[in-house]
Symmetry: C2
Subunit: 190 residues, 2 copies
């Protein structure tokens, strides 16, 4: 690939990263194109050279975001509780370093719980349901005796709600001390 194309790709990535950060922090509406442009260090006009519209930029983030979490849920899990331990650890401990992927979790959750802008987006989200597979996995854990009794759906909501609520705080204010992921897993642990 030519240097120019690489540059362009890089620039698009920078914009996506800035967008992700701001969308998490302020939400879609409150995030102004100007904010994103400023964070990347470019003019507003130029941003439209890279993305057709604010909404297309948002949609592209969603497309990227759908794969990560979905892949994670696909993994052939060893032991259910262990899986939740890994997920919790991964998300909470990576919010500072490997920011993009970790922030993506927070982002997708917000998107998922938002009456979405366009039909386009709604369609994309059909593919994205982590609650169903989570409940299944919890059931398995309950059979094995490693996960506590109780409605698997309610447990799934408790686990993801907690992870996301904590992750959101950490994403917004990076200097906060990070809770131990095992504390969260104790929500599920027998």
């Amino acid at each position: 690939m030519s240097t120019r194309e690489q540059q362009k790709e890089q620039r698009r990535m920078d914009i996506l990263a800035a967008g992700l950060d701001l969308f998490i922090r302020k939400g879609y509406s409150a995030t102004k194109i100007k904010d994103i442009a400023e964070q990347v260090g470019m003019s507003v006009g130029l941003l439209f050279h890279y993305f057709e519209s604010k909404e297309k930029l948002y949609e592209e983030l969603i497309s990227i975001g759908i794969d990560g979490p979905r892949d994670m849920m696909k993994l052939e899990h060893t032991e259910p509780l262990e899986f939740f331990q890994n997920v919790a650890k991964y998300i909470l401990y990576n919010l500072k370093e490997e920011t993009f992927t970790a922030k993506m979790f927070v982002f997708m959750w917000q998107v998922y719980f938002t009456e979405s802008v366009s039909e386009e987006i709604k369609r994309k989200l059909k593919d994205f349901d982590i609650y169903q597979p989570t409940a299944e996995l919890i059931k398995k854990g309950q059979e094995k005796g490693t996960i506590r009794e109780g409605d698997p759906n309610a447990l799934a909501i408790a686990f993801w709600g907690s992870i996301q609520g904590i992750a959101l705080q950490l994403a917004l204010i990076p200097e906060l001390p990070c809770p131990d992921s095992e504390w969260i897993v104790d929500i599920l642990r027998k």
Copy 2:
């Protein structure tokens, strides 16, 4: 009070309730005056008869919201862990019935973690820090041996993040099954 004044008060309350619901659901920017007016069943123009501006309406909600949570934190607590049990139970189990107060928790948390619109609002929020008192209380619990070891601030973040993350989901989709509040308290329990 005359009937008219009561009516007016009632109407203002209806608007505040609709605003609260929508602000939680969509955030400040994405909530249009039109949305609020529609939810209350009045014209956009009329809403401005009751509230000077969208921002004033938002500020009034914040003023209301500051007292509830702060009062709750003021209580002379019996046993620390018991206090957290009560809070968790109260918030999670009231999101469906006594909606206003429970939603207020979610709302105030969102406001707290948002670079706020006006100076006015920032000033009001100075009064609103539940993390500090929570950490104190956790320390006490640790001394008494009912709360697990670990950084009290990190534990406070874990507790509130979880409560708020779960509450947000329940507020957005009322038909979700409600997790058992004890599961969340297990984040703190020794």
